[in-house]
């Protein structure tokens, strides 16, 4: 799917993308881990068609009419939850938002009990965001509904990686052969893990960069280059992806101060100039201006951060549509 307006401008090896799959094999979307390159392309291609709906006067299609989707969010999130809600409503599904504030001190209902109680209302799909890695795997074992992972602990955030890939493809026409630099708190980031899996699966060259205290053990086994020098990472990059630094990381002595972090790793205009002239800057949000990214870069001409948000709805519509139409027998679970 090469757009004629953005042909690759150099002779780097470009692997022809495989044809997209005709359907998703799994009942759930728990992570990029379970998706083949063909399935990823199917989702991206379907998202293309979904994007056009946002440009119509009536931004709605009747496809999921009568279906109920529960947004079960155990972690606060405005951006992702709103994005899913808009996607669900554009497909005419009935949405139910359940926001649970959990305190580790107060032991309330277990996750399994909460989910089973919600299932009593017979939803078709549950979109789950939870602070524990593997929470959606637990629900997938216990529940009847299809589960979509909206972020589980430090593990994966598949729809984020999909919308990131969609955004990159929109600008670069392809993913294969691109140089992608991902900079930030690699250790705690589920966006990192999902993006690394997806980008390497579709043939991109990925370089990850962060403080030595925040590099996950054995990450190079996923096929990425690892460095602690951000200048090296962004050299000739086509895409620069910044990850959010959480302020509480300073408590764990991961780095001395935000000021030092910005000096050593922050994405400044000077650093961006080391990348290719048409490089794009991405961030899953919310941003800490002056920590992982300088304001001028965030608002600059190469930033596609707001597009990412817009694309999120189309990608999530594609995921909802493809999972809803999937095979329904238990054997496929």
């Amino acid at each position: 799917m090469t757009k004629s307006s953005s042909k690759p401008k150099d002779s780097r090896a470009v692997v022809t993308a495989p044809p997209p799959a005709s359907r998703l094999r799994g009942r759930h979307l728990l992570g990029i881990e379970e998706l083949s390159p063909e399935e990823i392309l199917l989702i991206l291609d379907t998202a293309e068609a979904m994007r056009e709906i946002a440009e119509r006067p009536i931004k709605k299609v009747p496809t999921l009419r009568g279906r109920t989707v529960v947004n079960l969010f155990f972690e606060p999130s405005t951006r992702t939850r709103t994005s899913f809600e808009v996607a669900e409503k554009r497909l005419s599904a009935d949405t139910l938002n359940v926001a649970i504030a959990t305190s580790s001190v107060v032991k309330g209902e277990t996750l399994v009990d909460t989910a089973l109680n919600i299932e009593a209302m017979a939803p078709d799909m549950i979109v789950l965001r939870h602070a524990s890695s593997g929470a959606c795997h637990l629900l997938a074992r216990v529940c009847r509904s299809r589960i979509i992972n909206a972020g589980d602990g430090m593990h994966e955030h598949p729809t984020q990686a999909l919308l990131d890939a969609f955004t990159i493809r929109h600008h670069k026409g392809r993913l294969s052969g691109l140089k992608v630099a991902i900079v930030g708190d690699l250790l705690h980031s589920r966006v990192l893990r999902s993006n690394v899996l997806l980008l390497t699966r579709l043939g991109a060259q990925v370089c990850v960069c962060g403080p030595p205290t925040m590099i996950p053990s054995g990450i190079e086994r996923l096929g990425v280059r690892v460095t602690t020098r951000v200048d090296d990472a962004v050299e000739e990059a086509d895409v620069i992806m910044l990850l959010r630094i959480q302020l509480e990381r300073m408590q764990g002595a991961f780095f001395p101060s935000l000021r030092e972090y910005f000096q050593v790793f922050g994405m400044t205009e000077a650093r961006v100039r080391r990348a290719r002239p048409d490089a794009i800057i991405m961030h899953p949000g919310p941003m800490n201006r002056g920590v992982e990214i300088a304001s001028e870069v965030a608002d600059g001409p190469y930033s596609v951060i707001l597009e990412q948000v817009a694309n999120g709805v189309a990608v999530r519509m594609a995921v909802l549509y493809l999972l809803a139409g999937g095979v329904d027998d238990e054997a496929a679970a």
């Binding site: 005709s22 056009e52 006067p57 009747p62 496809t63 139409g325 999937g326």
Partner: protein
């Protein structure tokens, strides 16, 4: 595999339909063509060329993907899910006479879905239906305004329309189902 229309016949039929359109609408002023993906889209483009040849002015043409409006979508998934393609209607359909174009008219459900989709785009003055082949067996009260060929078939048969743009050559064949 009986060929019921060859390339020549298809071309003459489209020409005939183009003239009927001009005649019935007394001019092309508020007309626009919307072809149903995927083969309806190509037929619509051919008709647009024909109409322009007659009238001199270009006729706005768009393509409609009705996958998301089908009524059988989430029921019994049989085989692979249909791939959703982009809808591309780059003009306003308000107050226009829309010519909806499809290759084969059968149960009428595709047209029903297309009407639902069109209404979401705006409020046309009227909608007329153009089909290359009408094979009967309607399940909904849908009627074509312009028909290339009436082709009585049995339910066990299938009608295949092949077009140069997609299949490399033009023909309409009727196949007995295995």
């Amino acid at each position: 595999m009986p060929v019921v229309m060859d390339a020549d016949r298809i071309a003459r039929t489209l020409t005939r339909i183009a003239h009927e359109i001009v005649e019935r609408n007394r001019g092309l002023e508020r007309l626009a063509l919307v072809g149903i993906r995927s083969r309806g889209e190509h037929l619509a483009k051919r008709l647009a060329d024909q109409l322009q040849a007659i009238d001199g002015r270009p006729v706005p043409t768009g393509a409609l993907d009705i996958t998301l409006y089908r009524d059988d979508l989430m029921r019994q998934p049989v085989g692979p899910q249909p791939l959703v393609r982009r809808t591309d209607v780059p003009f306003s359909i308000d107050d226009r006479v829309i010519l909806l174009v499809d290759d084969v008219l059968y149960t009428g459900r595709t047209i029903r879905a297309a009407l639902d989709a069109l209404i979401d785009f705006g409020r046309p003055q009227s909608i007329q239906l153009v089909v290359l082949v009408d094979r009967g067996h309607r399940e909904l009260p849908i009627k074509a305004d312009y028909v290339g060929k009436n082709l009585p078939t049995s339910r066990r048969e299938s009608v295949q329309v092949r077009l140069e743009e997609v299949d490399g050559h033009d023909e309409v064949v009727v196949e007995a189902e295995g």
